[in-house]
Amino acid sequence: MIQDYIVFVGVNIVLAWSVYVILLAGSLSFANGGFMAIGAYVSGVLTVKFGFPLVIAALISGIAAGLIGVLAGFPALRTRGIYLMLVTVGIAVSVKAVIESIDYVGGIQGFGGMVGTTPWHVVGLVVLVGSGLALLSRSPLQRILDAVREDELSAASLGINPIYVKLTCFGVGAFLAAVAGSFYAHYLIHVSPDQVLSVFIVLYAVLGGTNNMWGPPIGAAIMTLTPEFVRGLEAWRPTAFGVIILCLLLIRPDGLLAFRIATTRTKAVAGSKPKQST
């Protein structure tokens, strides 16, 4: 039981972070469910059919998903955010349709036989990704991301290439989603196209707040654990999700998606000495 909680919460935290990383550069991705599916299937095939060790298979699938993300994100990232949103929806739907039509991985029935994820894998992943993000939020890179997100034009005038920055974030987000997806699949033993394509991933991140790196994991943890402990809520999960998000958006229209109180910035404004680069 406790194992289940650790694995599911951990995987969802990493997924929420994968959306957060893409949001850092100001784009919203609905494709992370698709990248997660790519991770689950690619690593599943590598471990089950070719006998790769789990961690290496997860890394390979992450790199594959990252490449696909960069390739697919490239066209849309050149234009405004709304086109990217469309393309990300397209990626998610296409990934699902492609997986369903490949008989090699079981088509619509799904693919099984993956084992090997222990809670330690997931905890390790969360710690790694979390410390990476914590380092990032204290590094100059964070300010580049802030600049691109708030105003692409002025960022470009300062010599930052916004497309390059956004594309990198998109690739990293896809990578994280795929790694989380592969650990998830190797815990569940069996995955089907419907199961991995969760529309909730974006909501995890947004619900917790995207002002800093701690919002998404809190959102993911609350959203994963509450239905387990409150009887009857499981059946109403989508409605509860939808209503809560609507309320939050209506009460604090800027709070959820705007980065007004980013931690790094308030520190900079307060004039505290920046630490030696870490």
Binding site: V199, V243, I245
Partner: protein
């Protein structure tokens, strides 16, 4: 055989176009994507099921579906878009409409169950067919095609010719300037949402009648594909949505004819990605002057 497939494709395409025009109308006026639109479309089928189950005749069911779907559009506008009108609220509006869509799906599954529900019309309305030049065409499909084309023609005439259409175009051009000229922008938004959702509801009804059942996942498959079609045809362009819908409908029917049915979905979305790369204004983006843009 092939000709029949093409006719089926045109009927399918007219339904895509009906939904895509709703997306495009909202996008043209508000510059926002309405992710709840596909679910309003899905609900159209269920409203039709419910009203027929309550003993309504087909014309009454159509009327009821149109009105309820339109009212639902007003709700979507009020909850999901009223507060998020600033130009940089793309993400917020998309998320809020997405959340509304989630709630609609979940509630309709609570009411009608997750399985699809059969729709049966009295008499032979669903099976009656005519043969024209050796082709057997189901009357219902013909009726769907004619009615949706008429609806779209009416919408086009209203948007380009009437005074309401002038006001809609003014708001699409610039809400602030339109407000300065005494146009009630909120009212125009409501009217646009009402019309768009009404068309989506009717498309849902048409799909339910054509396939013989209403299902709660068409919003995610069929409805979302119309979003891609909107982008293919040209965002915010009514004619683009119509032509895009028909092209995709026919291509999809041909794909099924040649046994490539499963990849038709992928094809549509890949085409959309390619078109966004080559010309973000869509296939017909430059053919139409900005003035006529709805």
């Amino acid at each position: 055989m092939l000709a029949e497939q093409i006719i089926n494709g045109v009927v399918l395409g007219s339904m895509y176009a009906l939904i895509a025009q709703g997306y495009t109308l909202v996008f043209g006026v508000l510059d926002k994507l309405n992710f709840a639109h596909g679910e309003v479309f899905m609900l159209g089928g269920f409203i039709c099921v419910a009203s027929i189950a309550l003993g309504a005749s087909l014309p009454i069911a159509i009327l009821v579906t149109a009105i309820i779907a339109g009212l639902l559009g007003l709700v979507v506008e009020f909850i999901g878009f009223r507060k998020f009108q600033s130009p940089d609220a793309h993400l917020t509006a998309a998320l809020s409409s997405f959340a509304i869509g989630l709630v609609i799906i979940d509630l309709s599954q609570k009411i009608w169950g997750a399985e699809s529900v059969a729709v049966t019309l009295p008499g032979t309305l669903q099976t009656a067919a005519v043969s024209i030049g050796g082709l057997r065409i189901v009357m219902l499909r013909l009726a769907i095609l004619v009615i949706s084309l008429l609806l779209m023609l009416a919408l086009y005439v209203v948007v380009t010719r009437s005074s309401l259409g002038r006001r809609i175009r003014a708001v699409a051009e610039s809400p602030t300037k339109a407000a300065l000229f005494g146009i009630n922008v909120t009212r125009i938004n409501q009217q646009v949402f009402f019309v768009a959702s009404m068309m989506a509801g009717l498309a849902g009804l048409a799909l339910a009648l054509r396939t013989g059942y209403a299902s709660s996942d068409v919003g995610f498959t069929f409805g979302l594909k119309a979003l891609a079609i909107m982008a293919i045809g040209g965002m915010g362009d009514l004619r683009g949505a119509l032509i895009g819908g028909l092209i995709i409908g026919v291509l999809e029917a041909l794909a099924f004819h040649w046994g490539l049915g499963q990849l038709a979905d992928v094809f549509v979305w890949l085409l959309m990605i390619v078109i966004l790369l080559m010309r973000p204004s869509g296939l017909f983006g430059t053919l139409i002057s900005k003035e006529v843009r709805a």
